[in-house]
Subunit: 309 residues, 2 copies
């Protein structure tokens, strides 16, 4: 457990960002889609092959600049089991290229069922004596509405396999306050959830002071983000909502500690569809993604300075 | 939207129960596993084939007695994309046999991402002009920690395709109270969540008075279940925790209204592994499952009487 592997990559690359791989078919350049439709027909298999080809080239263009990718499960499940196959291949390819993979599944359940999610997404399973790795992500986002029974089954596997989790604390969407901002004994729910993260993470503090139990805190609530950074000193933040959802570099700056650590900021659409915004040849989509990822890195570094002591 | 299709089946079969299809490889009889390992090696493919063969025979033996099945996504994802293929095939086969399929995924996200989950699990997608059905479940369990932004993307699809959702309200596990029982302005979180279900369901009240937005309420908290039945008159309950988790027929009785409607009670392990408990020939696992499902039905009917007006 712990976020050490992720933090080491962030320091080495001097880049506290992660690119979300949420490959809607609309985002994929036509030449890739046409090739797959010609070969496999208008099928889920063709869609899945197109997603993977798109991801693969994005990863090739990002792996030397960006420490991590965050595939969002929904965009793969949308294309059936064939789409989930593209997810599995994407995870494996990104890791081959040295990237840390945060699987954004927001999974949640209890007991042996949560153990099944854990084994599937972060661990290994036994099939008739053979040890197999179903998805093999490096970290998984989870939802803790069910309480500790939904989180403790993850912790053993995280420790054993050196993996991490990110618990939803304060999400980036407008209605997140319907439950998360409501106060229990004067403390908002998101803060209560954050305190649980601190407690769950105690078993393994990590070399940089951040445990393997991180938190999702949206860029769209900069004040809460900055306050949570102070209140949760051992909890690493995954920060969505930068770019398309309205959060800017200034908004995320409060999520970092005095060493420029403590958070990783996600951008999905702006990087994946940079070629559309640039208006360049669609075959240059990978280079355009790399330019946008570089711009984002530089913008955030401009606010936080050098990363690491 | 609405739970009408499910309720009609419950009345026709006089059976307010659903069988959870959570097929751990441990539950699958050896003769099925050995056949698949011989044919496909010790692989995820073999595991997936074994799960599906197991489910198929369970469905064959249950479809004339039980109105619905509830596959739990975790036990399929545990075997990688190959396991997810078994999930897709299971959903389709159960529907061919006339069963209502509740996909237990506890999915949650916001906006277009939640739309992607919705399209994948309950709706249709467009692939180059072809309309395809990725998973095609009849209902999906969801987690509303993110607020209305996580639920409204589901409602349009539920209305359009006559599908339903079950929102986690009061879960069956011991630690569910860590968040769900905490009080906000004197009202516990689970009750607040229940009230949101009533509000989200207003768009389509349903022929039996129950909307398409149901709630998950555990059998292990019989007092809360009975109180919620009174407080949430338009919200249909999916009730886990019967059997293996400790809830009995008496405990679930309070979840039903005066017409014996308003709830469907889940049992997973006790039905799937009835052959082990009975000690019968493992090849009779389907008949043993049917016997246990019948026993459960009769036990619950003993408390609630005839279903429907």
């Amino acid at each position: 457990m712990s976020m050490d592997r992720l933090i080491e990559k962030i320091i080495r690359m001097q880049n506290p960002t992660v690119v979300g791989l949420d490959p809607k078919l609309d985002y994929v350049p036509d030449y890739i889609k046409e090739k797959m439709f010609d070969k496999y027909g208008n099928t889920l298999k063709a869609a899945s092959k197109a997603l993977y080809a798109f991801n693969k080239e994005l990863i090739d263009n990002l792996c030397d600049i960006v420490p991590a990718v965050k595939p969002q499960c929904a965009y793969y499940e949308m294309y059936g089991w064939q789409g989930v196959k593209a997810l599995a291949k994407t995870i494996r390819y990104a890791q081959e290229k040295g990237m840390f993979v945060i699987v954004d599944g927001k999974r949640n359940d209890i007991g042996t069922t949560m153990e099944a999610y854990t084994a599937g997404h972060l661990g290994e399973i036994d099939v008739n004596g053979e040890t197999l790795t179903p998805f093999g992500g490096d970290a998984l986002t989870v939802n803790a509405y069910l309480g500790s029974d939904g989180i403790t089954p993850l912790l053993k596997t995280c420790l054993e396999y050196d993996k991490g989790i990110f618990v939803l604390v304060k999400t980036s969407n407008p209605s997140s306050g319907e439950l998360q901002d409501r106060e229990i004994d004067g403390v908002p729910v998101y803060r209560l959830m954050g305190e649980l993260c601190e407690r769950w993470g105690e078993a393994d503090p990590g070399a940089f002071g951040y445990s393997g139990v991180g938190a999702v805190v949206g860029a769209t609530y900069p004040e809460q983000l900055a306050q949570l950074r102070k209140d949760l000193p051992h909890t690493f933040f995954l920060v969505p909502g930068y770019g398309a959802q309205g959060g800017g570099a200034k908004d995320v700056a409060g999520g970092f500690d005095e060493n420029g650590l403590g958070a990783i900021v996600n951008s999905s659409r702006a990087v994946m569809t940079a070629y559309k915004k640039e208006g360049c040849d669609e075959k240059d989509f990978g280079a355009a993604a790399s330019r946008e990822a570089t711009r984002m890195r530089d913008e955030i570094l401009g606010f936080i300075g050098k990363i690491g002591r």
